[in-house]
């Protein structure tokens, strides 16, 4: 291959990359706004076809991946999906289970059978009492409410640690691609973290300082949720924080 053809190729590749970049660029849309027109596109989540045009049905970021057009919500309450791991608070105890508050539009119920440990049928409060925070999974969504289960890895009552709350629409950024972000925060802060899809996050570390540091890191991520390459940025942020901590320690020694 002559050097010229190589150069041509890279130029072509660059063009292709540019086009992909353009396609994945996301824009804010308002309800009723036309996102794209033409028969080439398919309406996805929160969009609707009106004649030739695809129209937004809610406020959010319009995402065109391939032919599918959908809207990524930026705000709003958490809407539960089957299989979501969430953190909820026990509101009440009935004869066969617990009524939970998971910050969703519907009532949610955790059956006694679905508890994470042995249940004394005569006294359910031995297992989970009113006010306890429990990590649960959404088992099924029916017209009248949500059924939960606490059986599974990392589910069950949360003891010690701290609970923080973030916008549920930013949870995907806190977790990152295949958990990259949350694993980074876990290793850097030495904390055990459970992120509920409803935006409630449980942090448990050996020291309170570690827990507060993890909280700071998560708040950094949610604030910078629009930045691209956020995992890298968070790494830098951790390095900076460490340096400043070292400095403080040194100054104290001096």
């Amino acid at each position: 291959m002559t050097p010229k053809t190589i150069k041509e190729k890279t130029e072509k590749e660059e063009k292709v990359e540019e086009e992909i970049g353009k396609e994945t660029k996301r824009e804010i849309v308002v309800p009723g706004e036309v996102i794209v027109s033409g028969d080439d596109y398919l309406p996805g989540e929160w969009t609707e076809r009106k004649g030739k045009e695809i129209v937004a049905l809610r406020f959010g970021l319009a995402d065109k991946s391939g032919r599918l057009v959908k809207i990524i919500p930026l705000s709003g309450t958490y809407i539960p999906r089957k299989g979501n791991v969430v953190i909820g608070k026990v509101l009440d105890i009935t004869f066969n289970g617990w009524i939970m508050d998971i910050d969703a539009p519907y009532q949610s119920f955790l059956q006694a059978m679905e508890a994470s440990k042995f249940v004394n049928k005569n006294d359910l409060s031995e297992c989970y009492d009113i006010g306890d925070m429990v990590a649960v999974k959404v088992w099924s969504i029916k017209r009248k409410g949500i059924d939960l289960t606490a059986r599974g890895r990392n589910l069950g009552r949360l003891e010690e640690g701290i609970i923080i709350r973030v916008n549920s629409n930013k949870v995907p950024r806190v977790i990152g691609k295949e958990g990259s972000m949350i694993n980074l925060i876990k290793t850097e802060t030495n904390c055990d973290i459970t992120v509920g899809q409803n935006g409630i996050i449980w942090i448990k570390g050996n020291k309170v300082e570690d827990e507060l540091f993890a909280e700071k890191a998560i708040l950094f991520v949610t604030e910078k949720s629009f930045v691209e390459g956020l995992t890298e940025k968070t790494k830098e942020w951790f390095d900076k924080q460490k340096k400043s901590k070292k400095k403080e320690a040194k100054e104290e020694e001096d």
Partner: protein, 233 residues
Amino acid sequence: MSYTKRPDGRKFDELREMKAKVGVVPRADGSAMFAFGDTIAIAAVYGPKPFHPQHLQNPEKGVLRVNYDMLSFSVTERKKPGPSRRSQEISKVTEWALAPALQIENFQNTVVDVHIIVLQANASTRCAGINAASLALAHAGIPMTELVSAVSVGKIDDKIVVDLIKEEEDYEDGEGATDIPMAFLSNSKKLTLLQLDGKTSAEKLKEALEAGKKACEKISELQKKTLKEVKGE
């Protein structure tokens, strides 16, 4: 003497300077402020959430509940706090004005709460309230087919005037003043609110509707612009 000049020097089809902002109440699921000149309204949206008391729930679709009120210092003569005949009426018509734009059928047994509060009043408070509520509902991520914009059009003597102020509402010479608040959907231009306080002929009403439609286009442009600027948060 006929009505030739407006007290604040605006043209007959000119709106007051409008201001809009989204996210003014951090605790709410969605919130917005909307101002026509010195009429300022804020709206906060909570939900969809479980609806209590249970007997008010609708098993077929979600319910929209609007609560409109004015602060006691928003007008020159102190407004007695608490619900009144007037605020109940405005809450209800605002609900009807907003409902056609919403798609909350799939949130059975839930309620979407909208709280509108007028901080400062100089006429057109219900219109400012509807505009703020529409922004707040969109900000709260409630599924909507389009936005809602509202404006009050008046017939003062024999002139059609857009976006009245209190002084014009109280005009008494000639045929007097008629206040016609109206709301339009942003895309389909359907009318969702039309009230009429006073006297007018059918022709003048048609004229007023046309003027209102034009003004609402300007308002919905501002609403769209405001929502698009949310990104920085």
